[in-house]
């Protein structure tokens, strides 16, 4: 694996994050670039894409080296104070809070120029992985 981006469960055109960088064993950061093409409805980008991007980053963190798929199982306490706008470069930070068996609980947040604009708790389900063997920090765009 040459990049944490390659560890994400979705790739172009379904990958939401434009960069990914592991901070430590339980934390990963990424960037969500909001382009005009994200405004699928013709009005404005979908705010839920931020949560999807967080979930993809979490999937890269815990399932990165596993061939087994992971699934977004639940979203809780999602708050979007300000929807993404075309031209945004949002910093996403996802932290693995807890794991039991194949269930993983994360806390994610999105920031625009340092200000938090969205946060959510979410769960991924999949086979337990040997996360100690995860690759070292890497970044790509």
């Amino acid at each position: 694996m040459t990049s944490w981006l390659q560890s994400l469960p979705h790739q172009i055109p379904f990958r939401a994050a434009s960069s990914a960088r592991r901070i430590d064993q339980n934390t990963i950061e990424g960037t969500y670039l909001c382009s005009a093409g994200d405004a699928l409805s013709g009005v404005q980008p979908m705010p839920m894409m931020l949560i999807e991007a967080m979930a993809q980053l979490g999937g890269g963190l815990v399932f990165g080296e596993s061939a087994a798929p992971g699934f977004l199982s639940a979203i809780d306490e999602a708050r979007i104070q300000s929807p993404p706008e075309v031209g945004d470069a949002l910093l996403l930070r996802v932290h693995l809070e807890a794991q039991f068996g194949g269930i993983f609980r994360f806390q994610g947040e999105a920031r625009r120029q340092g200000l938090e604009i969205a946060s959510a708790k979410f769960y991924l389900a999949g086979a337990p992985t040997q996360r100690e063997a995860a690759p070292s920090s890497d970044e790509a765009c």
Partner: protein, 95 residues
Amino acid sequence: MSNESTLRRKLKELLIERLKFEDLTPDDIGDDEPLFQGGLGLDSIDALEIVVMLESEFGIKVKNENSARDSFRTIATLADLVAQKTAVEQPQEQH
């Protein structure tokens, strides 16, 4: 109220709070009512929340899914686990 009853009620209150059963009261949950299959109908995500609750409230770390399957069966079995683990970690003073 005995220590056992107090512990069971405390666990019911914690489950209601952590799992956001806003329509339930501790009296609605039977001590021997199944928590997962049937009964309250909890799922694997709820099991993770119970694991987190046990660690934060009682300092009990549960890592083995198989042993958890038995201990998480009912409020009574969950209380037994807490009583057993906390007794081991806090041995009685010898006089």
